[in-house]
């Protein structure tokens, strides 16, 4: 093996082991950004904020599902767990928004529940069709 090859290999090893890239290799859940809402830690956020955070999780669930569809639900994909978790987070925020007076959240919650129910009935979660319901929810409520 030439010195050049060894040098290239060493650079590659250094590159992949470097601290600098540690985070690039983390695969964050596709709804991590929803936790960054300034209202996430708020004990009593206004209903608009609760609804917005719920929607964030809900849309994230849609996106993961669409991605999984394209990847034909790869067994190794964390998609299924993330879809269920994202929907459960959405569910909890919609419930809070409803308690605080949001009427829009009622439709969202209804759809979320339907998909969670579907997930439960199709256990283990397989071939769940893409949600694409967020637009419907707005259409029904506006």
């Amino acid at each position: 093996m030439s010195i050049r090859c060894i040098a290239r290999l060493s650079i590659l090893i250094f590159f992949f082991c470097s601290n600098l890239f540690a985070d690039t290799f983390r695969i964050p859940a596709s709804y991590d950004h929803c936790f960054l809402s300034p209202y996430y830690k708020d004990d009593s956020p206004p209903h608009e904020a609760a609804l917005a955070i719920g929607e964030c999780f809900y849309l994230a669930a849609e996106n993961i599902l669409l991605d999984d569809y394209e990847n034909e639900q790869d067994e190794a994909s964390p998609g299924t767990t993330n879809i269920v978790s994202a929907l459960q987070y959405a569910d909890s925020w919609f419930r809070l928004a409803i308690q605080k007076g949001s009427t829009v959240a009622i439709t969202f919650l209804h759809h979320t529940e339907l998909y969670l129910l579907e997930a439960q009935q199709k256990h283990p979660l397989q071939n769940l069709r893409p949600l694409s319901i967020s637009k419907d929810a707005h259409a029904t409520t506006h």
């Binding site: 601290n19 890239f21 985070d23 290799f25 004990d43 269920v84 909890s92 256990h123």
Partner: protein
């Protein structure tokens, strides 16, 4: 002058008592039961009527011959035969002694089974601990709607628990050897059982066990905790530091993260309640760690009495050094061949989400061991009221230390068909070290950077 209606005044006082969560310490007469008909930490000394739960007689009589401190623990009950195995086919015979979560696991997974062994009550308590608990019994009180404690020593504030909050606090403040450092593995297998072991190194100390403990310094902190990811390389170097406060509503848990990629220390206010747990693949929440941790303020807690359940107990086999992780981590659930269940009395504590509060678990049910106050099983319900996740803490008794800690904890997500298993140390040579004492400096944010070096 306006006269206040006496009925209104009485109602107001009653309401005030309930809403402030005022909680009575027990009378000296009641406390005198400790060590008599009750164990030193409040369990029933007597076994059950048919003695399938034995009497508590002071704990394990003798440490197994050949055991050396720092070496792997020898199973004192290794010769016990399996009495019977509960599975999907015969679970109906045992429903009275199964939690709803266990029933759901058995119904969902035909491969899940529960080998049941003879029950033993090996846990013993040091004189120092007994003295502390006796004092707590007549002095400790809940404050701030149950979110804090006062007049309590480090462990078991309420040996004779009278409500769900007191029972939960006994779990949160149970004796864990004072301080501990350990290396262990955690995994989130796919449905077919593939997994990448994630290695953690942890340091933990109760405040009272610090080398530089000062009674009035940082007195709202109950414990310090540091957790570093050691492998795989893509995660290694990230470190979490937590100062867990007693009253987390008055002063929220302090948390920092050292991010190896950015080489920076940052505050991490999201490490609480239902934020996702570290490297958990969305399978557990931050407050799932150690079965339950953190502020209890989002739930109404109810103590629904005691039940006799088959719970994971004396789980020495799961820590056998001759096993590999692949032997234990199987598709859908851990290899139940190495689990051990025994009939024990547990406190059933139900947490129901308060009106106006939010959490992904609408309800959580915890089963707390009467001899350790450790949560051995939990059922988690979603917003619709369906069981979503089930957790089991497979504890073993560290007989040289006098504490029972999880060998393995497993968190099953029944909707996605996946689970998280944590605490495995079969392929790790380093010991659980209870002897090293820490100082506050070890748990300072500046210590994070040092811990994060790979």
């Amino acid at each position: 002058m306006k006269i206040i209606n006496p009925l209104f005044a009485i109602s107001a006082v009653i309401l005030l008592l309930f809403t402030t969560g005022a909680s009575a310490k027990v009378t000296p007469e009641e406390a005198a039961r400790l060590g008599k008909d009750l164990t030193p930490i409040g369990g029933e000394k007597s076994g059950n009527a048919d003695k399938t739960i034995p009497d508590w007689t002071g704990g394990l009589e003798k440490i197994p011959a050949g055991f050396q401190r720092g070496q792997p623990y020898i199973d004192p009950f290794a010769d016990d035969p399996i009495l019977f195995t509960i599975d999907q086919s015969n679970m109906d015979q045992y429903l009275d002694h199964l939690s709803l979560g266990q029933q759901a696991l058995l119904k969902t997974y035909s491969s899940f089974s529960m080998p049941v062994y003879k029950s033993h009550r090996p846990v013993g308590y040091s004189d120092e601990l007994i003295k502390l608990v006796n004092k707590n019994a007549i002095s400790a009180e809940l404050v701030q709607n149950g979110n804090g404690l006062k007049n309590s020593g480090a462990n078991y504030p309420f040996p004779i628990a009278q409500n769900g909050l007191e029972a939960l606090w006994n779990h949160i403040r149970r004796y864990r050897g004072g301080s501990l450092n350990r290396t262990y593995v955690h995994a989130t297998p796919t449905k077919s059982g593939k997994f990448t072991p994630i290695t953690f190194y942890e340091e933990f100390s109760e405040r009272a066990s610090l080398k530089d403990f000062a009674k009035n310094k940082d007195d709202n902190v109950m414990l310090y905790f540091k957790q570093a990811v050691k492998s795989p390389a893509r995660l290694a170097g990230n470190v979490l530091l937590v100062h867990d406060t007693i009253d987390q509503v008055k002063e929220p848990r302090r948390a920092w993260i050292y991010n190896a990629g950015q080489r920076r220390v940052r505050r991490a206010p999201q490490v609480s309640y239902d934020s996702p747990g570290t490297a958990s693949d969305a399978l557990i929440t931050a407050d799932n760690f150690d079965m339950y941790n953190g502020a209890p303020d989002r739930y109404d807690w109810k103590l629904e009495g005691k039940k006799e359940l088959y719970v994971p107990y004396n789980s020495y086999k799961l820590d056998d050094k001759s096993l590999t992780y692949k032997d234990i981590i199987k598709p859908l659930h851990i290899n139940t061949q190495y689990s051990r269940y025994e009939l024990h009395r547990v406190y059933k504590v139900i947490g129901t989400l308060k009106q106006g509060k939010r959490h992904i678990y609408q309800k959580r049910v915890h089963y707390i061991d009467e001899d350790t106050w450790a949560i051995l099983g939990s059922d988690f319900y979603d917003g619709k009221g369906n069981i979503w996740r089930v957790a089991e803490g497979h504890n073993k008794y560290f007989y040289d230390i006098g504490t029972a800690l999880p060998t393995v904890s497993a968190y099953y997500d029944l909707l996605s068909g996946r689970y998280l298993v944590t605490g495995l140390a079969n392929e790790i040579k380093t010991k659980f070290d209870f002897d090293r004492k820490f100082s506050t400096k070890d748990f300072s944010p500046s210590a994070l950077r040092r811990s994060g070096k790979r």
